[in-house]
Symmetry: C2
Subunit: 264 residues, 2 copies
């Protein structure tokens, strides 16, 4: 077999992996993800310089963005930006990446991004942005909001899922939303997003000057009793993987709205 | 016919309509939408106190939110908040609305929210949030970024679409993304979201202290040659209506990822 065989790719041909998150570049979650991805390929990190949870797919268009190279002591190239998670991915694409990455991973988020949380999540939005650009992309979240969360039980599963994503076909338009239960892990379920929502409960307070202000709180309401959902999988100690897309068209309802005869 | 017939509903039974946007409460677009919706029902406005374009589905969880009643001189109840478009809808639900609105409308956005723009748009995210809460919801956008855009040709169409949405069934999980071409309008097409993306082009500058900063710019790239897309409709002077959903599951790929045999 010739030495240039792709089976024995040189180091420079190791997979290129872009990493971002929304908890900020100093979060323990991204540190664990960096260490895991270094075992698989060449890593470049571009992440927010502060927590940017719940930023959704926000981008920064009304002010400039700063970007600074930082030493994370993980032995990988790393940059922090003043922007949102989606800004980080866009900056990486335009200014930093030597070629299109073979994989983009986001997280590990401190807290669940299952069900409707996918839509508020900066972690998932960073992965969505990479997917729009044509990268294979995965968002990883651990269902534990604590800064001191124990990521160790998750790590071999994360490596397995990343390798499978590198080694299998995933068509343009699809990425993966991976949520990992806290504690023991029984295995993996491929799921759909549970039908759920947050019931808002704003806490009203009065500042020292007599003016009202509000803190957003809420209760998670699962309206879905299916056993094929991400919420079910997580409640039963399985990792949930939801194939996720950014085509928001409700194709099944095009006919419904056509029947309203608005074109008449 | 008795006077209590539902055909002659008293004023208190007129449809309740919630209005928000992302360009801010003082934008001409929301002013036109308020005037139009007043002809249909009782209106309550809750909108950002400043431009919040491209905020996506961001919510404010790390700082408190202010909310102030304002007089817009449109004869309707109106509140401005320091939060994002999604925050506005959540505050309206928890603190302001006397009952679930019959309709939520967002906009009129100054600029297109067709194709992939739906995912960055604060205007559409406000409508998505209302839809998650169970309201019928529509995002309206005019394909003209100018603050002095001419909304007049759009107004009768917007009224027609709002009335049709009130008078027809729309199942939970589906809302409408309505984009209106600049200038002459030939009619309405019910469409799918075109496959498109933005190619990032960050402009790098140096501040007076020698440090780099970046302005996000980009080029819109339409990769879709279909004639059933929103981009096609708008280029051909039709209003595009895309039935839009917040279930991001790529149901067709659950089988694909199952075949990776990750559960083994």
């Amino acid at each position: 077999m010739p030495t240039e065989s792709p089976t024995f790719a040189p180091m420079s041909q190791r997979p290129l992996i872009l990493i971002s998150n929304d908890d900020g570049i100093t979060s323990p979650g991204i540190g664990h993800l960096i260490d895991c991805m270094k075992e698989i390929g060449e890593v470049i990190v571009v992440a927010p310089d502060k927590p940017q949870s719940a930023m959704g797919h926000a981008i920064t268009i009304n002010e400039p963005i700063r970007m600074t190279k930082v030493d994370l002591h993980h032995g990988v190239e790393a940059w922090q930006t003043s922007g949102t998670p989606v800004d980080c991915v866009k900056l990486a694409i335009d200014k930093l990446l030597p070629r299109k990455p073979d994989l983009m991973v986001s997280g590990i988020n401190h807290g669940s991004n299952s069900s409707i949380n996918v839509i508020y999540s900066g972690t998932m939005s960073a992965a969505v942005e990479a997917s729009i650009d044509g990268m294979k992309a995965i968002g990883f979240s651990l269902c534990d909001y604590s800064w001191e969360a124990d990521f160790q039980p998750a790590m071999s599963w994360i490596k397995k899922i990343a390798l499978a994503t590198l080694n299998n076909e995933l068509p343009y338009g699809t990425l993966l939303n991976v949520n990992i239960p806290k504690g023991d892990i029984k295995g993996i379920k491929i799921c759909r997003q549970a039908v759920a929502r947050w019931k808002e409960e704003f806490e009203e307070r009065v500042d020292p000057f007599g003016r009202n202000y509000y803190w957003m709180t809420g209760k998670f309401v699962n309206m879905d009793h299916g056993t094929d959902t991400d919420v079910w999988a997580l409640e039963n100690n399985f990792i949930s993987i939801v194939p996720t897309m950014f085509d928001l068209t409700d194709h099944g309802r095009i006919g419904t709205v056509n029947n309203w005869n608005l074109h008449e």
